[in-house]
């Protein structure tokens, strides 16, 4: 599904070129649940931003579902992103002035889905994530776990093939975090490819493969024989 070949990101300082990612070669197959781990500053979130096409300032080769992302213009990358990728943020990043239902509606609206269809999809998603009762509430009226749940629902509403999650439980307490990870597991079993960035070893056990980064390099990989709980 994903092929990264010699992907690098750096920026110029007075001291010279500073690398954030160095010669990243990575393949991820469809249906995998990959955890990217490493110490602070290892380049995990940067790697996720590149995979999610939020960052265009890198070099190397990146193929997604057979498409050469490195050859696409930023505008075309955004279109590719819209088609195949959903992103879950550590800080939820819900839109504070929109209700839960409206937050779910926005990605569909950006994908030019018709109004009547959008309403049906939003209703289904609310039901699927059991947040129908919260549909008219604003984010500041929800708990952290509920907000992240909405964040996950929003990331999935357009049925992406790939879900990227950057420290999805970082701002949650452990019970809430486990709920979210169990949800991810379920989604992965249903066919969604998931790549998560986390510090948590516990969260890593939900996946079937771990990629470790240090100082911008891939330090090592490990495949779990039996993933998840």
């Amino acid at each position: 599904m994903i092929e990264l070949s010699n992907v690098e990101k750096s920026f110029q300082t007075r001291a010279g070129e500073t690398f954030v990612l160095r010669r990243i070669d990575l393949s991820i197959a469809k249906g995998e649940f990959v955890t990217v781990m490493g110490p602070s500053g290892a380049g995990k979130s940067t790697l996720l931003s590149i995979l999610g096409m939020l960052d265009h300032d890198w070099r190397g080769e990146y193929r997604l579902l057979g498409q050469d992302v490195h050859r696409l213009k930023p505008k075309d990358r955004i279109e590719l992103n819209k088609k195949h990728i959903g992103f879950v943020f550590q800080q939820y990043h819900l839109l504070d002035n929109l209700t839960v239902a409206e937050n779910l509606d926005i990605p569909l609206s950006y994908r030019n889905v018709k109004g009547s269809e959008r309403a049906a999809i939003v209703a289904d998603t609310l039901d699927r994530f059991q947040i129908v009762g919260k549909k008219d509430l604003f984010p500041n009226q929800l708990s952290g776990g509920q907000q992240q749940l909405v964040g996950v629902a929003r990331a999935l509403i357009a049925k992406p093939a790939l879900l990227l999650a950057d420290e999805p439980t970082g701002n949650l307490h452990s019970d809430q975090g486990r709920e979210i990870m169990r949800l991810f597991k379920r989604l992965n079993e249903e066919g969604t490819t998931i790549i998560q960035v986390t510090h948590s070893e516990e969260n890593a056990t939900y996946g079937n493969r771990i990629v470790r980064l240090r100082d911008g390099w891939i330090e090592g990989e490990a495949v779990r024989a039996e993933a998840g709980r």
Binding site: L54, N81, L95, D96, N97
Partner: protein, 807 residues
């Protein structure tokens, strides 16, 4: 459509959630759009609306002019020649504004009348409200006198009674039969006309039969289908050359002046109104700049939102559309409130405007004006919203979403844009303030012009003696002398006199003249002067200074040698190196029988045509030797002049109870009225200038305040490291003052370029008057300093300890 509604709903909610920002932005836009709406409604009613006649662009107005001096009425025989000889016009009609005295229906009253040809109303496509208009049989010398009532007179005098048609009323003691009533909407003449009579009746007067008498007749014509204004002008030139050859004594040097009706009606007001509209346009630009500043500030605070939207699939186009929708929503609400403000302001605006502006009464907030407001609001929304929207849509989702959410000062591009907005605000405010300053100095200059006489404490009242009753000069002179005696006997009266021309108002007639002992020029090269008839005590009553010789006195009688007094301009022009006393001049053409008159005195100049008009040469004839049918009585008193009004009218009626008295007002009111238009323009431009400076100050305050907020941490650290208050102020305001200086430099350059366009509105100051430019520069610097004062206090109040603690 669905997503547009979504954007609207969201935009509305966002604005409601920021009431402070929304209130300031809406108020700013309302002021700018409202001012534009109000002024545009005037411009639309006066200049843009089509004249209410069929094919108004085919209508022309014609006068005569001399090749050496301007314009006069058309001599009656010349008008008849034009009517018979032209091929350029499908219809041609004469019209002449006059006053007539209505009597026999209660109190005698002076009415405004218009003497018009039979073709006049049909040419304008007007139909009578009642009865009929004049026909060819009415419009010829010796025809039974007929008249058409204005709608207003019909309602007022006859209560709208249909049986008024066919009745008879006396005008100037002559019975006229009412044949029709004009429609209520008809308003061709600048002053409301009360009655219309056939101009052809004037053709029987000996004075009108004289080709050299230009009695104030003008000609209205409709171009023939195959003629243009240029071809008509060429044909009229040929006709006048033919007449010049045919009648050299009267028509030498005479030509036709042909202008479109539109030009004649609006020429004097066009420039000023467009300038006012441009001025409010500048105010709106400044308002847009302010709101753009506010939006930029908000965009910084909303970076997180835009980053999220981008991360979840929003492309730049959608983001820009969303933000523009919000801007248009703001502009729409601002525009709506602007219409309310404009409606409220229109009443006072129209009351202040000089009544002489044509079609001013038609000003209203009509669909065309609302359409203008809609267009202005839309353009405004796009103007102030586009760049902030495009800039906001360029957010980098990756870096923004990883931040804790604190906004930063924004990228270099955003800062440059802010700087450009700041500079343009200062420049625009400068230009407008210079315009207002120039007009204000002009007004002060005009107000400082001496009227050449003492006008305070003088009551003026006009009389028009009907020719049918006062048929001889002796009869007229007797009336004036007896009336003056009655006026002088009134308690509180210090002196009383009379003159043909009311000073400043510009009613004097012009005439060629000859100087005895000098070669007689050709007919076309005869000099021209204003001529005035005055009672012998006129100069003393009005306190016009005597420069040389003597005033008229009781020795100047109808039987004594004919004399004149001239003004200083005339003396300097024609006798620059000698005294004119004893010299002789003759009014009229060489072949005329008028006598040569001896110059017995030179008096100070009186501005006949307005305080800001060039002083013409003026010749005064003694009323005793030349009593005209229309005179203005001038009564000097130590009391408030209007307190004598009733008694003065009574004094005239004591001599002739059927004689109407009109235009009873203090002399100073004529001065005030002559300045009305200039005062109006100055007031409006002054208000806009103040508004522009106020908005600029608000904008500058916002920018500086925002900058101080952004640099709070830096200021705290510098203060902790030992920066003094002046160091802090320098840090914060160095850039502000630099930008203000750039703005002023651009403003000066722009003002130097633009002010020449309203040089015609100025008096006594040039469009690049250094005093005005310097004064406004100081004012703008002052505004910048005041706007920076509060942010400066905030910057000085930053506590280094609390800043370091929060780090």
């Amino acid at each position: 459509m669905n997503t547009l509604l979504q954007d609207l709903r969201y935009g509305f909610r966002t604005l409601i959630k920021s009431p402070g920002f929304t209130a300031v932005a809406v108020a700013t836009l309302a002021l700018g759009i409202g001012a534009n709406t109000a002024i545009f409604s005037v411009v639309h009613a006066v200049l843009l609306k089509s004249l209410p006649y069929p094919e108004p662009d085919r209508l022309v107005v014609m006068r005569e002019r001399h090749i050496h001096h301007c314009c006069s009425g058309v001599a009656w025989p010349t008008f008849l020649d034009w009517r018979d000889q032209n091929r350029s016009f499908q219809a041609i009609a004469g019209f002449h504004e006059w006053r007539v005295m209505l009597s026999g229906l209660g109190e005698p009253e002076m009415l405004r009348s218009a003497q018009v040809s039979a073709e006049f109303f049909p040419l304008l496509g007007v139909r009578p409200a009642l009865g009929r208009f004049f026909d060819a049989d009415d419009d010829k010398p010796g025809a039974p006198p007929t008249l058409i009532l204005s709608w207003g007179q019909w309602k007022r005098r006859f209560g709208g009674d249909r049986s008024a048609v066919g009745r008879t009323i006396d005008l100037d003691t002559v019975p006229y039969t009412i044949v029709g009533v004009a429609p209520p909407s008809f308003a061709f003449f600048p002053d409301t006309v009360d009655v219309y009579t056939p101009v052809g009746l004037m053709g029987s007067l000996k004075t009108w039969q004289d080709r050299s008498n230009h009695a104030g007749l003008r000609v209205l014509a409709r171009l023939a289908p195959d003629a243009s204004l240029e071809s008509a002008r060429r044909e009229m030139e040929m006709i006048m050359l033919r007449l010049e050859k045919q009648y050299p004594d009267s028509n030498s040097g005479q030509r036709a002046l042909v202008a479109s009706l539109d030009d004649v009606m609006f020429r004097d007001y066009r420039a000023a109104l467009w300038i006012l509209l441009a001025a409010v346009g500048v105010v709106l630009l400044i308002a847009c700049t302010n709101v753009a500043h506010l939006l930029l500030g908000r965009a910084s605070a909303r970076r997180r939102e835009f980053a999220i939207r981008t991360a979840i699939g929003g492309n730049r186009g959608r983001l820009v559309r969303q933000l523009l929708t919000e801007s248009l929503l703001l502009a729409g609400v601002g525009g709506g409130l602007g219409v309310v403000l404009a409606t409220w302001a229109l009443g006072p605006l129209l009351r202040l405007a000089p009544a002489e502006i044509p079609r001013l009464a038609d000003t209203r907030i009509d669909p065309a004006v609302l359409l203008f407001t809609l267009a202005a609001s839309t353009l405004t929304g796009l103007l102030f919203g586009l760049v902030p929207a495009v800039q906001a849509s360029r957010s980098d989702p990756q870096s923004t979403l990883r931040e804790s959410g604190n906004s930063t000062t924004g990228g270099l591009e955003r800062q440059r844009f802010r700087a450009a907005l700041f500079v343009s605000e200062v420049a625009l405010a400068f230009v407008l303030a210079v315009g207002a300053g120039l007009l204000l100095r002009s007004l002060k200059r005009v107000e400082g012009v001496s009227p050449g006489m003492e006008t305070d404490g003088v009551l003026a009242l006009d009389v028009y003696l009907p020719e049918a009753k006062y048929t001889t000069p002796t009869g007229r002179l007797l009336f004036y002398e007896r009336a003056l005696n009655e006026l002088r006997r009134m308690p509180g009266v210090e002196a009383a006199s009379a003159s043909l021309c009311t000073p400043v108002v510009g009613q004097c007639w012009g005439s060629p003249f000859l100087i005895s002992g000098r070669p007689v020029p050709s007919q076309s090269d005869l000099p021209d002067s204003a001529f005035n008839m005055v009672e012998s005590s006129y100069f003393r009553t009005m306190r016009v200074p005597l420069k040389e010789g003597r005033f008229f006195d009781t020795t100047d009688t109808p039987d004594s040698p004919p004399v004149v007094v001239i003004n200083e301009t005339m003396a300097k022009k024609w006798w620059p190196h000698e005294s004119p006393i004893g010299k002789r001049i003759k009014q009229g053409f060489p072949q005329d029988e008028a006598p040569y008159r001896e110059i017995v005195g030179v008096v100070g100049d009186v501005p006949q045509d307005g305080l800001d008009a060039e002083i013409r040469t003026e010749v005064f004839l003694p009323m005793s030797q030349h009593p005209d049918a229309a005179m203005t009585f001038l009564v000097r008193t130590g009391r408030p002049p209007m307190s004598l009004a009733k008694a003065a009218i009574g004094a005239v009626h004591a001599i002739d109870k059927d004689q109407a008295v009109t235009a009873v007002q203090p002399m100073s009111q004529y001065i005030t009225e002559s300045l009305a238009r200039r005062r109006f323009h100055t007031l409006l431009l002054g208000v806009f200038g103040v508004l522009a400076l106020f908005l600029a100050a608000v904008g500058i305050y916002g920018v500086v305040s925002y900058g101080v907020g952004q640099r709070r941490r830096e200021i705290g650290i510098r203060a902790a490291l030992g920066a003094s208050p002046s160091d802090v102020l320098r840090l914060v305001f160095r850039q502000v003052l630099r930008l203000a200086a750039v703005g002023m430099a651009i403003g000066i350059a722009a003002a130097l370029l633009l002010t020449r366009f309203f040089a015609s509105l100025l008096f006594g100051v040039g469009p690049t008057d250094p005093v005005t430019f310097g004064g406004v520069a100081f004012l703008v610097i002052g505004v910048v300093v005041v706007a920076c004062a509060r942010p400066a206090r905030r910057a000085l109040a930053v506590d280094p300890a609390s800043v370091l603690r929060s780090e």
